[in-house]
């Protein structure tokens, strides 16, 4: 087990009176791919935002590589939000310039090669690209960094199965092996095969943290099956939908 990369201790975050994170506790080590799994509204995105400094928790300790979220942690965290964040006037090459200027670990050559593979011209303006292509450019930017921590918020939500395969392959082929990838999603079946470890989050709390191999060996279940078991809600009228 590598050194502790993320440490969260009794982390609380409120939106007005609503508790988004309720005394969240966990530790993550470097060099693995971790699934942050939970139903909608469980606090996944809030946790991601807290980890990269977009939100400040009201209470608790958050440490990334031993430091509180700030300039240092931002320089070692590569974040893929669940929305596209480009300015209209920017070309793909402008974004590469920006990343090159601000992140020492950005590999421009790699980013350009990835664009070439996808036949994305770097002199194209972001606003004329399709939504799917814009998302791919964003993924390329994030995965072209040799970061210590990759925070990927719902990277495969709302895309077709072929695009999901592309996204997961890009993540697997390009992340820094010494770093940790934290993928938040509720599409477990698609990501399960790439995960080393899982964090189950519910109502702003980590309710279970386990290595994927242990789940399979000790419980004889897939992560997807375990997820359905943990987060099952009985529909109105009783019974289960039994849909996979």
């Amino acid at each position: 087990m590598g050194e502790v990369l993320i440490q969260c201790q009794d982390v609380w975050k409120y939106y007005g009176r609503k508790e988004a994170l309720r005394g969240l506790d966990f530790q993550l080590s470097g060099g693995r791919i971790v699934g942050l799994l939970g139903p909608n509204g469980s606090g996944k995105t809030t946790l991601m935002k807290v980890l990269n400094g977009l939100l400040r928790p009201e209470k608790g300790v958050v440490l990334i590589d031993g430091e509180e979220p700030g300039i240092y942690t931002k320089s070692v965290v590569s974040y893929l939000p669940d929305k596209t964040y480009f300015a209209d006037w920017m070309k793909v090459s402008d974004l590469f310039d920006l990343f090159q200027d601000f992140y020492e670990d950005f590999d421009r050559e790699k980013a350009e090669q990835m664009c070439e593979t996808l036949q994305i011209q770097t002199n194209q303006k972001m606003k004329i690209l399709s939504k799917g292509t814009r998302e791919k450019v964003q993924l390329i930017l994030v995965m072209s960094r040799s970061a210590k921590l990759y925070l990927l918020d719902e990277p495969i939500a709302g895309v077709d199965p072929a695009a999901r395969d592309y996204i997961l392959a890009t993540i697997l082929n390009n992340y820094n092996p010494e770093g940790t990838v934290l993928i938040s999603t509720h599409l477990i079946a698609d990501v399960e095969r790439v995960l080393d470890e899982v964090l189950f989050i519910q109502d702003g709390k980590v309710i279970r943290q386990e290595m994927v191999d242990d789940i399979r060996e000790q419980e004889g279940k897939s992560v997807d099956e375990l997820f359905r078991e943990i987060f099952r809600t009985v529909p109105y009228g009783g019974g289960t939908a039994n849909v996979r």
Binding site: Y15, G16, K49, N52, G53, L54, L55, R56, I71, Y72, K74, S75, V77, Y79, P81, K83, T84, Y85, F86, A87, W89, D94, L98, D101, F102, Y103
Partner: protein, 282 residues
Amino acid sequence: MLGKLIKYDMKSISRTLIPLWILAPVISLLFSISIRGLVGTAEYAVQNTLENQALIQGSAIITGITTLVFFGVMIAILVMTVLFIIQRFWNGLLKEEGYLMFTLPVETWELVVSKGICATVVSCVSILVGVVSCVVMFMGAISGFDELWNGIGQLIGYAVKADGVMIWSCNVVLFVLLMIVGTAESVYRVYAAMALGQLFEGHRVVGACVSYIGIGIAWSLISGIFTIIVSLALPDTAYYLTEDFGVFGLLYMLVLLLITLFQIVIWHLMTVHILSRHLNLE
């Protein structure tokens, strides 16, 4: 890092405002020429007792068109400048783009200062372009423009003679500084209002407008009380106005400059505090 941020913020204006900045003086020059042409045509017609209405009408139409274009460009510069200031902060920091900007390894104050410097420069250039364009336009539109310049020159000469070159040079420098700092204050006030507005979940734009009005009222109250105290404490200002105008102007602008700088500091600290502690991205 601040320099790099400014570079990107300045880059974003190149496609919108720069063409307008070039266009405005060119259009005003055309306007000026067309006015001269119209006056010349009319005078020629009168002198030669011509009744060629078509010539005068044609000249008038050209003047009318250039007038419309000129005012159109000036309004466009004004609107685009205001929009630029608001949009680059609102979209650039408080909407989706904020996910990129706030995860860059830079301090929040650097993001705000970068936007502030860029918006102030853009506003000052727009004002300068507007003034230059108006001067160019009036050169053609007003007969006896040379006399006007001479008159202004004489007035300055008289003032310099009365108070000395030093005082009036300082006055000019302070006036320019005051204009720049005043512009920056207006920008920062809008930023503070937007930072407050983003806290209003679901009513962010309304929140920003209400905050802007609220900030204005609060500052008017504070400055009103301050002015009353100062006017009670200070001796008769009318004396200085009539007897020692140069020195009075200098002191007045200096105080105003310090107050405006103080305002900038308040709005800046307020904006940075809200964005670093209570950021509420869409």
